[in-house]
Symmetry: C2
Subunit: 479 residues, 2 copies
């Protein structure tokens, strides 16, 4: 997996951080955080926090005591140990887009299906730069609502041998995910020793944690499976319009969710989550790849490190309706800061289009190219006498050409990043090849990947047990 | 103009910088630098440097003594004082693409014409985010070769009231540019007091300065007009394939050119130039927006600051043949590091396509959008108690909505960057609007800009004198 040992690009002075610290402390103590879960309220009450209706007024120092129980870094196992990941420190792990109800494939935009879900899972498996297909790569709208989490989990478990995310629609779904993980990995004890899923718990920002997601959180935390406590903030809608206000709110929300995780199971691995962008103030529609989201992202990284927590942010977000120039630059507007901040868990790293409503096949390939380039760019330069290639100058001379130089011949295969998608063909050659744009070439690449896909091996007995579980549970759920 | 007061993203340790320093010192002293100009060789010889044939073997300490004579920062006047720029420090100035022989307009790619040149100059005038149309915005292939510099300079002087670059094809062309600048600004003394042009002197890398560009440099330096001494390096062709080797060569070349500038006229304003990318090692074609070019760019900024020199690097480069997703992400792959490095003079900031062979109208607009976003992103965040908007939380409450909050109403017009080009329209609305991609919307924007263009006022007598000069000189040049 990728380790980002380059410098972090930090924007916040000590003074600014102190101001933000005062801000979240005031919010959690004076305004409080809503938890729409009696179990959560009971835990906070039992821990001595003031509870009124559904609102918990938190002592900031108590919050920090809980936060201190969370591990700074942890491992998550994949069924193929080569694909296991480390979350935290300088490690960066990447998952595909999460949640879109639609897909785009060339000029066609339509409801996502289970077949799309499987295709994206296969693509995620086939690209080394992704550590995970994520969770809900797209919504399989052609499968029954109550049992589709079973189909998705089975697909992630069998079509990939990488890390997968847990379903969080309800406590029931979380229990199914955990049960299927126990089957795949060999029992509860095994998965409690080293977690095997990671799950996204979104805040209903501002300052409200909803019941269904909390039910899921209870299940995952009890099973020592990491949760990503994520304020879901589009500034102007779910938070005030000023970035510092959004950051302070994000701290209040993420830290309160993390505190709950530690009350459920002290030491449970958690991730400081961030999903932070802004709306268009004219139309109200969400915007991605904005300057404000980039600034917020960079600050978020620094804030998470301030609390000693691994963090999730970034991705390849865009508002664009097509895999066009806007999609290209907006994706990088978020991805480059993602690397500058050294985000530990990066969701939506491939395939995101149209504000997250669409999983796009072509965009998936574009994003893989961006991820690969970023990994190259964020690999430290080795500078020593040998790298200066003095002898090559002696060989080539003034005004000469280095293509045939010994120094070049020894290195030409690996010296530069080799693009997956980008073309530097001259115009005539490019025209002879059909004059295909980046989206068109991306289409060729994903189709070949799907054609070449090979399912990773899995023990037949395990596969059978998983399939039996799905059949049985589907029946129990009435689908 | 834009001041970048954000932190610089520096990659080089003191140790790495010392290694690079040893490298360029060894190159200039042991391999030497070729100057294909007797005047240049005479100056170096007279200053005590060893000259053999066309090669000057430079004492590195002598080079640094010369470099120390250059101003750390300087002003360049535009005829509209509001558009005058400062070069150096935290100031960043931006010019359009420079040099393409072709243009692209929608699906049409063709030879550039003088009419294209004028259109791009108008576009550069119309966008506040550009400080200059640059120089050769495109090659006006339909005008006579020997006199087109007169047409281009006249167009830049009359269609824009911004800074313009000097022609560097020959000493003759440079003298014409200077003479026309004297007419526009009121005489030699005026332009020697505060320079009014900035000129690109490219090195014929590796380690060779050619006669025609040097002739131009002599003219500009004698007139105290700034020159941008720019190693032209595509790694693998004009330098070794290792980034540190390219950096060291770049130092040797830029510093030797700067030393010459100071020998011609001590104190002449100069810019440490960089044009650094790599070739595709399979095809030999130039690649732009690569991870290697981004890393080289970041290091270049740090190196220029190490020598106390303003520097030129970056832009909106891409190898892409179309204004597609690749063009979008590659442009930002260079532009974002341009801002992270705080480049002082940014050429090719708008309109560059196809490795610089094409000036593209749609790409011009795309790049303006990127520049505007970068300027927003690299504006420091103000973090104080008021920015935390505590009262907005009291007003909105848990799970509420901030769109109608007082805090939002007071700020909604200016709180977020408002895109020029990017669309966040929902799918249905976007489809009703024609389902136009970013390139298509860019076309609409540039056409409206051209339709709305208004020529900046200019004294009739000055205009007439400029036009007379062009007519007279064109006749003298036999065109």
């Amino acid at each position: 997996m990728f380790r980002n040992t380059m410098p972090r690009y930090d924007l916040l002075s000590d003074e600014a951080m102190a101001t933000l610290d005062r801000g979240w402390r005031r919010i959690v103590s004076e305004i409080g955080v809503e938890f729409l879960s009696d179990r959560a309220l009971d835990l906070f009450r039992a821990a001595g926090q003031r509870v009124e209706d559904n609102t918990v007024f938190l002592d900031p120092d108590f919050v920090l005591e809980q936060v201190a129980k969370a591990p700074r870094e942890f491992d998550v196992a994949a069924r193929n140990p080569e694909h296991s990941v480390h979350i935290g420190g300088d490690a960066m792990a990447f998952g595909a887009v999460y949640g879109p109800p639609f897909v785009r494939q060339g000029q066609v935009r339509r409801d996502a299906t289970m077949e799309d879900f499987r295709s994206f899972a296969k693509l995620a498996q086939s690209f080394d730069t992704l550590d995970s297909a994520g969770g809900v790569v797209c919504e399989p709208n052609d499968t029954p609502l109550d049992s589709r989490h079973l189909d998705m989990t089975l697909a992630l478990q069998t079509l990939t041998d990488k890390l997968y995310m847990g379903n969080v629609v309800s406590g029931v779904n979380a229990r199914d995910t955990i049960a299927m993980s126990e089957i795949l990995f060999g029992g509860r004890e095994v998965i409690e020793r080293t977690p095997v899923t990671i799950s996204l718990i979104n805040c209903n920002s501002p300052l409200r944690w909803d019941d269904r997601m909390l039910d899921a959180q209870f299940e995952y935390c009890a099973a020592a499976q990491p949760v990503v406590l994520t304020p879901f903030i589009l500034m102007g809608a779910m938070s005030p319009v000023t970035i510092p206000a959004a950051l302070v709110q994000q701290m209040a929300e993420a830290l309160s969710g993390i505190a709950l995780a530690q009350l459920i199971r002290p030491g449970c691995p958690v991730v400081f989550g961030s999903f932070l962008s802004n709306i268009d103030m004219q139309s109200g529609s969400p915007c991605f790849g904005t300057p404000e989201s980039a600034t917020g992202l960079l600050c978020t990284g620094q804030i998470a490190r301030h609390f000693g927590l691994p963090f999730r942010t970034g991705g390849a977000m865009t508002s664009s309706q097509l895999p066009d120039a806007q999609a290209g630059y907006e994706a990088l507007m978020t991805l480059l800061p993602t690397f500058l901040a050294g985000a530990n868990w990066v969701m939506h790293a491939a395939g995101w289009l149209e504000g997250g409503l669409v999983a796009c096949y072509e965009k998936f390939v574009i994003d893989i190219e961006l991820l690969q380039m970023m990994r190259e760019e964020f690999t430290p330069l080795e500078i020593d006498e040998a790298s200066l290639a003095f002898d090559a100058h002696t060989e080539v001379g003034h005004g000469g050409h280095f293509l045939g130089a010994m120094h070049t011949m020894e290195r030409f295969r690996t010296c530069f990043y080799r693009p997956l998608l980008s073309s530097s063909e001259n115009y005539e050659r490019w025209m002879r090849g059909g004059g295909v744009d980046a989206a068109g070439r991306a289409e060729q690449i994903y189709q070949k990947r799907l054609a070449d896909y090979e399912q990773p091996p899995l023990d037949d007995a395990v596969r059978a047990e998983l399939e039996e579980y799905v059949v049985r549970r589907r029946a129990e759920l009435g689908d």
